[in-house]
């Protein structure tokens, strides 16, 4: 599971938990408050009705009291008459026994005995040993009960008599109320003298909120109930619940989207980073496109990544340079722990040493080849000069002393002298003995003198070498060969009229300077001859420097060879 999904899941789980807790507690609070509210309202409605019913009954009681004893007449009573004794039946109503010793008017509930009338009460009062009996219908009570203000659609108030029968018409049952027995919790509690309000199942078998109280007046025992269906009373909370569900779904959707976007925002750079790092591990060093210009940790992470790529690139550049043999390339280790950098620097050092060693070996090789060649030339030269020469001269002596005629002798001697000259010339060409015995300064002078005889060029030579020079032979050889080569070049190619050569010895170096006023050449152009290359090689082998300037007005070659 990737970070994005995890993040989204965590966010959703968290918000679901919060929403659940919040909405549940809100729901419960609301539910409680609503119940209290409904019960309170029912209670006040009940109270109001009780007051009204009591007032109605009190009115009738007052009216019954104030009836003229001599002429009992009242519109409020549909029967009014004296009896000597309390009759058992009046107008078809059975009067139950009433306490006879009470001075107060006794009330008897007769409602259930008459199906045509509404609420009917019987009034009995003792007047001078006689009993005044009145019967009255109280339709106002029905009216009071039918008044449904504050009780909603399903609310109703009704009276229950002592025999648990419904006294007033039910709003819901078309049946004669007198046949409806009400033994709900409310009725039972009210008769038990515990008025209150609660939810319970009413006579219809429906759950209701109800407020209940007993009305007890002059022997009359009723219970008044004001009820409302729980379903209706709690309908706001049902609505709230569906609203809450809708809101929760909406919020969840919102959170889902936000979580997705957020995790995307966090995760997409992480994925980019992952790709980059994978790339780096595969050796691909592409810089990030700088899309993540942000100041948070992710932004800094990308800055760090770019830095990593930069330093890696630099390291690669450095490594390439080393690989290409550029040992001057510099590299600053990134930190004291930069192992790669250190390794590269070490590698550079080692390669440099190898290279230097190799160059030194090559140079030594070349030097030994050149020295060997010079030694060989020297040996040849000496052999011819000191070996062949004396033999020829011995031959000459022998010819001189031989018994030959003078003409033959002269011819032979002439031939022999030519031979000796030739041997000397060859020896000299190989390696002038003056070079080994007197050094390059003298040898170059001799060379120039010799060439001057046959060349149309004017040579000017200045030898400024010390006669006690302690310079190594190899340097003398090099100087001589270089001078020889450049003189040859001047003669062959320069078309110069004058060539100036000077050789000067200093404390620490020898300078050889050759200039001509010829046509010049291009020092860097490749030519078929390897004269110039040889010259450079010779200079290099004795650690010297050579500077060639050539132009239309001539060529100058300046060579310096260190002697210490």
């Amino acid at each position: 599971m990737n970070i994005g999904n995890k993040l989204a899941l965590i966010m959703i789980a968290f918000s679901v938990a919060v929403i659940t807790v919040l909405s549940t507690s809100f729901y419960l609070q609301f539910d409680k408050a609503l119940r209290e509210r409904v019960l309170l309202q029912l209670s006040s409605v009940k109270q109001l009705k009780i007051v009204k019913i009591r007032a109605e009954i009190s009115d009738h009681l007052s009216a019954f009291k104030e009836i003229d004893i001599a002429n009992p007449q009242s519109e409020d009573f549909f029967y009014l008459n004296y009896h000597d004794e309390i009759p058992s039946h009046v107008q078809g109503f059975q009067l139950k026994k009433v306490p006879t010793n009470s001075p107060r008017t006794q009330l008897i509930d007769l409602t259930t005995q008459d199906t045509d009338r509404g609420i009917v009460l019987g009034f009995i009062r003792q007047v001078n040993d006689r009993w005044l009996v009145g019967l009255a219908e109280l339709p106002d009570i029905q009216a009071v009960l039918l008044e449904r203000t504050g009780l909603g659609e399903t609310g109703e108030s009704y009276l229950v008599g002592e025999d648990y029968r419904l006294l007033t018409k039910s709003r819901f049952e078309n049946e004669d109320p007198r046949n409806v027995v009400v033994k709900s919790q409310g009725v039972m509690r009210a008769f038990a003298g515990q008025p209150g309000e609660d939810d319970f199942t009413d006579y219809r078998g429906i759950r209701v909120f109800g407020a209940y109280e007993k009305i007890e007046m002059n022997g009359l025992k009723w219970v008044l109930l004001s009820e409302i269906n729980i379903q209706e009373a709690l309908s706001p909370i049902q609505k709230l619940r569906s609203n809450l569900i809708f809101i929760v779904i909406f919020i969840l959707l919102f959170i889902l989207i936000v979580a997705y976007i957020l995790s995307k925002m966090i995760v997409s750079p992480v994925i980019t980073m992952e790709k980059k790092l994978t790339g780096i591990s595969q050796g691909i060093l592409a810089k990030s496109e700088r899309i993540h210009k942000r100041n948070d940790e992710i932004g800094r992470m990308f800055v760090a990544l770019d830095k990593l790529i930069d330093t890696l690139s630099n390291t690669i550049v450095f490594a390439n340079k080393i690989g290409a043999g550029d040992f001057e390339a510099s590299y600053t280790p990134l930190s004291a722990q930069d192992k790669l950098g250190e390794a590269l620097l070490r590698m550079k050092g080692q390669l440099k040493d190898f290279k230097e060693n190799e160059l030194r070996l090559i140079k030594e090789n070349q030097q030994s080849i050149v020295n060997g060649e010079e030694r060989e030339r020297s040996r040849f030269s000496k052999e011819m000069h000191d070996g062949l020469g004396p033999m020829l001269t011995t031959l000459r002596i022998n010819i001189q002393s031989a018994n030959l005629d003078s003409a033959t002798k002269t011819t032979l001697l002439q031939q022999l002298d030519d031979t000796i000259t030739e041997v000397r010339r060859m020896s000299n060409n190989l390696m002038p003995s003056v070079l080994t015995d007197f050094g390059a300064g003298e040898a170059i002078g001799n060379l120039i003198n010799q060439i001057q005889k046959n060349a149309p060029i004017i040579f000017k030579y200045k030898n400024d070498m010390s006669s006690e020079s302690q310079i190594d032979d190899s340097i003398h050889f090099a100087l001589y060969r270089i001078a020889q080569e450049s003189i040859n070049n001047a003669i062959k190619h320069s078309k110069a009229r004058e060539v100036r050569i000077s050789i000067s010895e200093f404390d620490d170096h020898v300078g050889l300077f050759i200039s001509d006023n010829g046509i010049g050449f291009r020092p860097n152009e490749k030519t078929n001859g390897n004269g110039l290359r040889n010259m450079k090689e010779r200079v290099k082998l004795v650690n010297g420097s050579i500077q060639i300037d050539s132009g239309s007005s001539g060529t100058t070659i300046e060579i310096e060879i260190p002697t210490t």
């Binding site: 004396p390 033999m391 002596i397 002038p432 006669s467």
Partner: protein, 209 residues
């Protein structure tokens, strides 16, 4: 007149024999010994002092020219003639400087050889025209005794005092500009001065220019 005692120092036996037989024909001369090395030479000298020694230059253990320089002090009466294959002025000059009385190339004629021995034995020097020319060509090298400034430095100093630029001096002396600068710096060092003006002043004071 007694015979001229001649010794031959050469590492080639055939040559020595040739010369010996050549000289033996002459009644004025007496071959008193031969040597092919420095040691043999000393032994020879111990056994009897020759008047004239014919000395080769190229020998395995020593150069004949060096041997002459040593032997001249040791045997002041003995005279040396260089007899060599080397026909370069430098050898001639060195031979003269080391005290040789004559210088001959090995392919010299019999007459010249004998004439040279005679003259040298008489205390004269023998250098024929050819040898003299070789010597003259190289004599310039042997300048005066050590001076504080070299010839080349004096040249540069002269030109500096004339107000020439380094480039002009370099052109005139056919050396590189750097060489001129080096000479100038070396002169300043030798004369213990700091700049060119001081150099000229000091040089004038020393009457170098």
């Amino acid at each position: 007149m007694s015979k001229i005692k001649v010794a031959i120092v050469d590492d080639h036996q055939l040559f020595r024999e040739g010369i010996a037989s050549l000289l033996a024909k002459n009644e004025e001369l007496e071959i008193v010994g031969e040597a092919d090395s420095q040691t043999a030479f000393y032994e020879l000298m111990e056994s009897g002092t020759p008047h004239v020694v014919l000395m080769d230059i190229s020998m395995p253990d020593i150069s004949g020219l060096d041997l002459i320089r040593i032997a001249r002090d040791k045997y002041p009466l003995v005279k040396f003639i260089v007899l060599t294959m080397h026909a370069e002025g430098q050898y001639v000059v060195k031979a003269v400087r080391n005290g040789a009385h004559g210088y001959l190339i090995k392919n010299a004629d019999e007459q010249e050889l004998i004439s040279a021995i005679r003259q040298v034995a008489l205390g004269r020097k023998h250098f024929n025209n050819e040898i003299s020319n070789l010597m003259i060509g190289n004599i310039a090298i042997e300048g005066e005794a050590h001076k504080r400034l070299s010839d080349r430095e004096l040249e540069v100093l002269e030109l500096v005092s004339e107000g020439k630029t380094t480039k002009e001096i370099a052109d005139q002396l056919f050396v590189s500009s750097r060489t001129v600068e080096t000479h100038r710096v070396n002169m300043m060092k030798k004369l213990g001065v700091q700049n060119s003006a001081e150099l000229i002043k000091k040089a004038a004071h020393l009457k170098l220019i």
